[in-house]
Point group: none
Chain length 227, copies 2
């Protein structure tokens, strides 16, 4: 059995040390970093099977590190470690694409189970946030639109908007909903901005003729996938 490699980011020397020992005892290989900024430099894609990141760090917080890691390696599983049980933290973690989170103080057995469950999944990221659009596959977490003629990377806004359209596929996606959830404001400028992104998505989706992104004047848009 292959030894799994864990990237551990934890500023607390004592706790981090204990955790490392425990994981090594359980047959993991551990790379332990204590500082957020240097951690990112030392992280190398392909050398890690799973990341455990403390959220509360003195230098650079765990979420920022997570974003940086995601950029280098979109598929590596992320687990957040936090003493806080603040709602916004958990939601924020999941929105980045966290695979799980663990609250301190925690039961080592439970943690181990969670880690094993994640690793067992293998590289297969769960199909949440993955949408099939005819010959396209849109993966929200990595903002990738995989088409028959190669993949495209979407910008954050493009991805947000496309996701919303996918969630309402073949139905009306109200303009207001997008402005509310993505732009957080509904005025002349945000509306025009949204129009620009709709045009970009149209261009991106153009190769698949079964897809149609039509406007419903005064109400919103409809992403239609023809049979």
């Amino acid at each position: 059995m292959k030894r799994f490699r864990v990237f551990l980011l934890e500023d607390d020397i004592n706790f981090g040390g204990v955790l490392r020992s425990y994981l090594e005892m359980k047959e993991f290989t551990v790379q332990w970093e204590t500082d957020g900024a240097t951690a990112l430099e030392r992280f190398h894609a392909g050398e890690t099977d799973l990341c455990i990141l403390d959220v509360m760090l003195p230098n650079m917080d765990g979420f920022s590190v997570a974003v940086g890691i995601r950029k280098q390696c979109p598929s590596v599983p992320l687990v957040f470690l936090t003493a806080r049980s603040l709602k916004e933290d958990v939601l924020r973690g999941y929105s980045i694409g966290a695979d799980d989170y663990i609250c301190k103080p925690f039961d080592t057995e439970v943690m181990l189970m969670k880690l094993r469950a994640i690793l067992r999944r293998g590289g297969e990221t769960s199909d949440e946030g993955r949408f099939q659009l005819g010959s396209f596959t849109f993966e929200f977490a990595t903002r990738t639109l995989q088409g028959s003629a190669g993949p495209s990377r979407l910008s954050p806004r493009e991805a947000d908007l496309l996701k919303l359209l996918c969630l309402h596929i073949n139905e009306l996606m109200p303009r207001e909903l997008a402005l509310q959830t993505i732009w957080r404001e509904d005025n002349y400028f945000t509306r025009r901005s949204m129009d620009v992104f709709i045009a970009r998505l149209r261009k991106l989706l153009e190769p698949e003729t079964r897809l149609e992104l039509i406007s419903v004047h005064g109400s919103g848009y409809r992403l239609i996938l023809h049979g």
Copy 2:
């Protein structure tokens, strides 16, 4: 709109709390249980529109709880929540009659859409705002009139008026009602404007010969669907 009641079984205090807050924010009423065994005792048929059950629980697992719930109330939709995305789990869940499966990590918006989709199915609210007019299907939300010879798209006013006529199908739809609710004013000009829209609707509905939109002089209109 009726508030939906969700029965939530999740042992993780933090995660459960977050989920409850989120669902309550989205206008659901939540009954949150943390223990499988006691959850079953506290579950009461008829008080719940949908169940969200974590699969991995310390005491009694989510599947057993599901079976118990199904015994009491065979029709309530079940959604399983799991960190694992193992095939056997998914299959087992569906064999019990799960309506959907949500794997952690999940996107809150995706989850929300799944829940809404399930509730829509059960609550037969799906044909709310959808009318069958002979060979035509009129969908108010998208302002689409689906005919045998392709769809037509209606303007907001046309859709409003057609909806009003559909709600009074085969009966009199008083002129005044339309002017009051759609135009919000009853004068010479709004009356003439309404006449124009009636003419447009007639042209749109023309292909279906069983449909007749007749005027009742001095009173209003009648949309008749012949037998």
